[in-house]
C-alpha cells in the first residue's frame, strides 16, 4: 500500500532533490574525512561516522523511494554510487590513485556506453551473437597463449605498458551470450560449450575464482533456459566430480583447501595478516592513518582482500553498508519487471556474479571460504575488473530501463501466458 501523497509529482521531485542532496553531502563528508586524515589532530572518527550516516541515510531514502514509486533505476544508481565512492576512497589510499581513478572513471563511462547501446534492446540479434562468440573465443585464445605466469597463476596479458585479464572481460561477454540463448537451441549449445570450456581453462590456469563465477552462471542460465532441474543438478554433479579430481591431482588446489580453516596456524600468511588487521581495527576500524597496519606491503589487499580491508580500515558499519549496496544490486533481479527473457537473464547472471565475487572476496580473505583471489565489484583495484563490472552494470541498468517496459507492470508469468 503506497501512500497517496507519495504519488504526487511534486512530492516525488522533492524526494529526488533530497536524494541528490544527500548524495552530495555524503561525498563531501567522505572527501572531508580524507582531507582531515592529513591533519594529525583532526577528529577523523567524526568524519567517518558522518560519512557513514549520510551514506546510510541516502541509501534508506533511495530504497524507500524505489519501493514507493516502483522505479528501481534510481536505487540502482544509488547503490552503485556508494560503492564507487568507497572504492575510490579506498584506492586513493592503497593504489597509484591517479591510474585507478582513471580506471574507475573508465568503468563508469563503460557502464554508460553499454547502457546507451543496450537500453532499447529486447533481444540479441544473430549478428551481435556471432560477434560475442568471436569475442569470447579471442579472449580464450589470449588466456591460453598470451598470458604470463605471475605468483603461480597465469592471469594477465601484457600489451605494452598495459596489462589486462581476459578472465575479467569474458564475464560480460558470457552474460550476453547466456542472455541471448533463451529458447534457441543452437545458441544454447554454443553458450554451453564456450562457458564450460572457459571454466575448464581457468581451472587449468589456477584462476579458481573466475572458474567458480562462470560455472555458477552456467548452471543458472541452464536452469532458467531449459527449465530442467535434472540438467542443472547433473552439471553440479559433474562439477563436484571434477573438483574432487582436481584436488587429487593438483597440489596447488590441495594446499589452498588444506589451509582453509587453519590459516592462523601459518604465521605470516596473507589471510592471517588480514584477520589480525581486522582484530586491530576493532568495531570502528583502524582508520586511514593506521591502515598500513593491515596492508603493510601486501599489494593483494587492494584486490583479493579489499572487502576485508574495508572491514579492517573502515570498520563493521561501513562493511555492512557495502554489503547492503551489493545486496540491493542483487535484489534488482527479484524486483525487476522485465518482460523480456534476455534482460531477465542479464539481471540474474549479473546478480549471481556479484554475489559470488563478493562472498569469495570477503569470506575467502578471512578464512570462511578457501582463498581463491577474486575482486570485489567496483571496490577492488584493477582496471580489467573495473571495466568488466562497469560493463555488467551497464547491462543491468539497461535491463532495468523503465523506458522499454510497457506502461502497466507485468509479471513474466502473465506475459508468457499472453
Amino acid at each position: 500500500m503506497i501512500p497517496v501523497f507519495l504519488k504526487r509529482p511534486g512530492v516525488r521531485k522533492l524526494l529526488v532533490a533530497v536524494l541528490v542532496l544527500g548524495f552530495l553531502l555524503s561525498l563531501m563528508a567522505m572527501v572531508t574525512g580524507q582531507a582531515r586524515d592529513l591533519e594529525p589532530y583532526a577528529q577523523r572518527m567524526k568524519a567517518y561516522r558522518s560519512a557513514m550516516l549520510f551514506g546510510m541515510g541516502f541509501f534508506l531514502l533511495a530504497a524507500l523511494y524505489s519501493i514507493c514509486s516502483g522505479a528501481n533505476i534510481l536505487t540502482f544508481c544509488t547503490a552503485v554510487t556508494v560503492l564507487y565512492a568507497i572504492g575510490v576512497s579506498f584506492q586513493i589510499l592503497f593504489a597509484g590513485y591517479e591510474k585507478q581513478l582513471l580506471l574507475q572513471a573508465g568503468s563508469l563511462v563503460t557502464a554508460c556506453l553499454v547502457f546507451l547501446v543496450w537500453r532499447r534492446n529486447r533481444d540479441i540479434s544473430d549478428a551481435w551473437y556471432i560477434a560475442l562468440v568471436v569475442a569470447a573465443l579471442v579472449l580464450l585464445m589470449l588466456q591460453l597463449f598470451f598470458t604470463k605466469e605471475l605468483n603461480g597463476a597465469r592471469l594477465w596479458v601484457r600489451i605494452g605498458s598495459f596489462s589486462l585479464q581476459p578472465g575479467e572481460f569474458i564475464k560480460p561477454v558470457l552474460v550476453l551470450l547466456g542472455a541471448g540463448s533463451y529458447r534457441k537451441s543452437g545458441r544454447s549449445f554454443l553458450y554451453f560449450v564456450i562457458t564450460l570450456l572457459s571454466t575448464a581453462i581457468f581451472v587449468l590456469f589456477k584462476d579458481l575464482g573466475t572458474a567458480v563465477v562462470l560455472f555458477c552462471s552456467l548452471v543458472l542460465v541452464t536452469y532458467l533456459t531449459f527449465d530442467s532441474e535434472l540438467l542443472s543438478l547433473g552439471l553440479i554433479g559433474i562439477a563436484l566430480a571434477a573438483f574432487i579430481g582436481v584436488l587429487m591431482v593438483s597440489s596447488y588446489a590441495r594446499t589452498r583447501f588444506g589451509n582453509w580453516g587453519n590459516v592462523m596456524e601459518i604465521p605470516g600468511s596473507q589471510q592471517s595478516n588480514y584477520i589480525k588487521g581486522v582484530l586491530f581495527g576493532g568495531f570502528s576500524g583502524l582508520g586511514l592513518p593506521h591502515a598500513h597496519i593491515m596492508t603493510g606491503t601486501d599489494r593483494f589487499v587492494s584486490t583479493d582482500a579489499s572487502l576485508a580491508a574495508v572491514l579492517g580500515v573502515y570498520g563493521t558499519p561501513m562493511l555492512l553498508l557495502t554489503m547492503l549496496c551489493y545486496g540491493l544490486l542483487i535484489l534488482q533481479a527479484a524486483h525487476n519487471r522485465s518482460v523480456f527473457p534476455a534482460n531477465h537473464l542479464v539481471l540474474c547472471q549479473v546478480g549471481v556474479m556479484i554475489f559470488i565475487n563478493t562472498m569469495l572476496n570477503l569470506c575467502g580473505s578471512l578464512d570462511l571460504l578457501p582463498f581463491t583471489g577474486v575482486t570485489a565489484p567496483l571496490i577492488s583495484y584493477g582496471g580489467s575488473s573495473a571495466l568488466s563490472f562497469g560493463a555488467m552494470l551497464g547491462l543491468q541498468a539497461a535491463a532495468l530501463n523503465p523506458a522499454i517496459h510497457p506502461p502497466k507492470r507485468r509479471h513474466l508469468c502473465t506475459a508468457a501466458k499472453n
Binding site: 533463451y182 536452469y223 532458467l224 533456459t225 527449465d227 592462523m264 604465521p267 592471517s272 584477520i275 589480525k276 581486522v278 582484530l279 586491530f280 581495527g281 576493532g282 568495531f283 570502528s284 583502524l286 593506521h290 597496519i293 576485508a308 572491514l311 563493521t316 562493511l319 555492512l320 554489503m323 547492503l324 551489493y326 545486496g327 542483487i330 535484489l331 533481479a333 527479484a334 527473457p341 531477465h344 540474474c348 546478480g351 549471481v352 554475489f355 563478493t358 562472498m359 570477503l362 569470506c363 578471512l366 578464512d367 570462511l368 509479471h411 513474466l412 508469468c413 508468457a416
Partner: protein
C-alpha cells in the same frame, strides 16, 4: 522459467541474506582468532607492549628494544625473530586485548613486567666490550640456582625495520654449536674419572705426535713434545697426545653413558620457552682417529655453550647443576602480583666422587697454568680450560670453559675467527668476573 519464478526469488533472497549474514560470520571468525595475536603483532600495530627488564630493573624492552646491539637477539625488538623472549612470552605480556576496541584499547595500557635474571645492561656492555669487536658468545649462569646472568651473542645489532648485520638475529648461545677444541678434555677427563678414579694417575710420555692403531696421527699444537704427563698436567698443558691415549683407555659404553648423562645427544632442548640446540659427539670406539679425535676436541664433536657451562657447574658442585632459566617472573606493575614465577630445578649430571676429583685436578691445573701471561685469568676464576677449534676453512675459534666458585657461576665463552693463543676469551672471562664482583 515461469514456473521457477518463486524459486528464483527465493534464491535471490537467500543470496542477499547470506551476504548480510557474512558480516557477522566474518566477525565471529576473526574473534575466534584473537588468541593467535602475538606480541610481535601488537608491537607492529601499536608500538606498545609490556616491559622486559634485567634482574636489577634495567629496562631491556618496552616496545622499543634497549641495548639491542647487546641483547637484541635474546630479548627481541620490534622486528623480531621468533626465538626471543619478547615473542615467546607475548601472550603473557599483553593479556587484555579488546576485540571491540582493537588497538585503541591498548593506548593506555602498560602491560605486565617480565623480569629476567640477566646482569644490568651496563655490565653486559662491559662484557661485550671485552670482545673488542670480534664475533662470539658468552654464556654464564648460577649453577646452584639456574639463573642465567649473561647470554651474549655478538653481533647483536638488530634494526627495527628487520635488517640486521649477518648473524645478528640468531643468539649463538641458543642455536649454535661449536667444535669444542681442548675444552672437550675436561669432559674426557670426567669420563675417565667416572669410569676409574685411578686414571688420575694415568701417565703418558708425549713426543709431540702419536700414531693411532688405524694408522692416523694425533699431534700436539706445534708438535710440541710435553714429556711425561699425568692427568692434571696434561689438562694444564692441553696435551692432545695424552688425551688421545686416555680416550683409548675408556670403555666405550661407559663413556657414552656418562656423555649422555652430561647432556650429549639430547634433543628438543629448551631454555624456558626458547628453543636451543644440544651437544653431540661421536665416540664410537677407542681406536679410530675420528672417535679419539672427537674426545680430544675436534672431529665430530659439536657442543652447546649452555651444555658445557652446566657441566662446569656440575664439576664445581659435586655433580649437581641447576637447569638454566632466564625468565624470573612476570608481574602486574599495579599490584605486584605474579602471573609467573620461575621454579629452579637441580639435576645430577655427573657422579659426585668423579666431580670432586675432577674439581681438584682442574683447580690445580688452572692455578699452575692459567695465572700468568697475556691470557692470565683473574683470581676470581676458580678453574678454566681454554681451547682452539680448527674450523676446516682456515679459520679457528677460541673457547674458554670455567667456573667461579665464589659467585657460584659457570661460564663458556667462544670468540670466533681469531689467531691461536688470542687472549680475548680470557679478557671476556675477566670482565665477567669484574662485573660479578660489583
Amino acid at each position: 522459467m515461469y514456473r521457477s519464478e518463486k524459486l528464483k526469488r527465493a534464491l535471490i533472497l537467500i543470496m542477499v541474506c547470506l551476504m548480510i549474514l557474512s558480516v557477522p560470520a566474518c566477525l565471529i571468525r576473526v574473534y575466534n582468532a584473537r588468541d593467535h595475536l602475538t606480541l610481535r603483532d601488537l608491537i607492529r600495530a601499536t608500538g606498545k607492549t609490556g616491559t622486559i627488564t634485567a634482574a636489577q630493573g634495567d629496562v631491556l624492552f618496552d616496545g622499543t628494544a634497549h641495548g639491542k646491539d647487546i641483547v637484541g637477539n635474546l630479548i627481541g625488538s620490534s622486528a623480531v625473530t621468533p626465538n626471543t623472549i619478547a615473542v615467546k612470552y607475548s601472550a603473557d605480556l599483553v593479556p587484555d586485548f579488546s576485540v571491540l576496541r582493537g588497538i585503541r584499547g591498548l593506548e593506555d595500557m602498560e602491560g605486565l613486567v617480565l623480569e629476567t635474571t640477566l646482569l644490568p645492561l651496563a655490565s653486559q656492555k662491559a662484557i661485550a666490550d671485552a670482545f673488542s669487536g670480534k664475533n662470539g658468545a658468552c654464556f654464564s649462569y648460577n649453577y646452584e640456582t639456574g639463573a642465567v646472568l649473561c647470554m651474549l651473542s655478538l653481533p647483536s645489532a638488530t634494526e627495527d625495520d628487520g635488517t640486521a648485520t649477518d648473524g645478528a638475529l640468531m643468539n649463538r648461545c641458543l642455536r649454535s654449536v661449536y667444535i669444542p677444541g681442548s675444552t672437550m678434555k675436561v669432559i674426557t677427563a670426567l669420563c675417565a674419572l667416572t669410569q676409574n678414579p685411578g686414571l688420575e694417575h694415568f701417565t703418558y710420555t708425549c713426543e709431540g705426535s702419536r700414531n693411532l692403531p688405524d694408522g692416523n696421527t694425533v699431534k700436539c699444537m706445534g708438535s710440541t713434545a710435553h714429556g711425561q704427563l699425568d692427568l692434571q698436567n696434561a689438562l694444564g698443558r692441553s696435551c692432545n697426545c695424552y688425551f688421545s691415549a686416555l680416550a683409548q683407555e675408556l670403555n666405550v659404553a661407559t663413556a657414552n653413558a656418562t656423555l649422555q648423562e652430561l647432556g650429549f645427544g639430547a634433543t628438543g632442548n629448551t631454555l624456558d620457552r626458547l628453543t636451543r640446540t644440544g651437544s653431540s659427539t661421536a665416540f664410537e670406539n677407542n681406536s679410530t682417529h675420528s672417535s679419539l679425535w672427537s674426545m680430544v676436541g675436534q672431529g665430530k664433536s659439536a657442543v652447546s655453550l649452555i651444555d658445557f657451562a652446566m657441566i662446569a657447574g656440575a664439576i664445581a658442585s659435586g655433580g649437581q647443576a641447576a637447569q638454566p632459566y632466564v625468565v624470573d617472573s612476570i608481574r602486574d606493575p599495579g599490584d605486584g602480583s605474579a602471573t609467573y614465577l620461575a621454579e629452579p630445578q637441580v639435576n645430577q649430571l655427573a657422579s659426585e666422587p668423579a666431580s670432586r676429583q675432577m674439581y681438584r685436578l682442574w683447580v690445580d691445573a688452572t692455578d699452575r697454568y692459567y695465572r700468568t701471561g697475556q691470557s692470565a685469568l683473574s683470581a676470581r676464576i676458580t678453574a678454566a680450560k681454554s681451547g682452539t677449534a680448527q674450523q676446516g676453512n682456515g679459520t679457528q675459534n677460541r673457547l674458554l670453559l670455567g667456573f667461579m666458585e665464589g659467585y657460584k657461576v659457570a661460564f663458556m665463552i667462544v670468540v670466533e675467527d681469531v689467531p691461536n693463543n688470542d687472549p680475548t676469551p680470557a679478557r671476556v672471562a675477566n670482565a665477567l668476573a669484574q662485573e660479578l664482583s660489583k
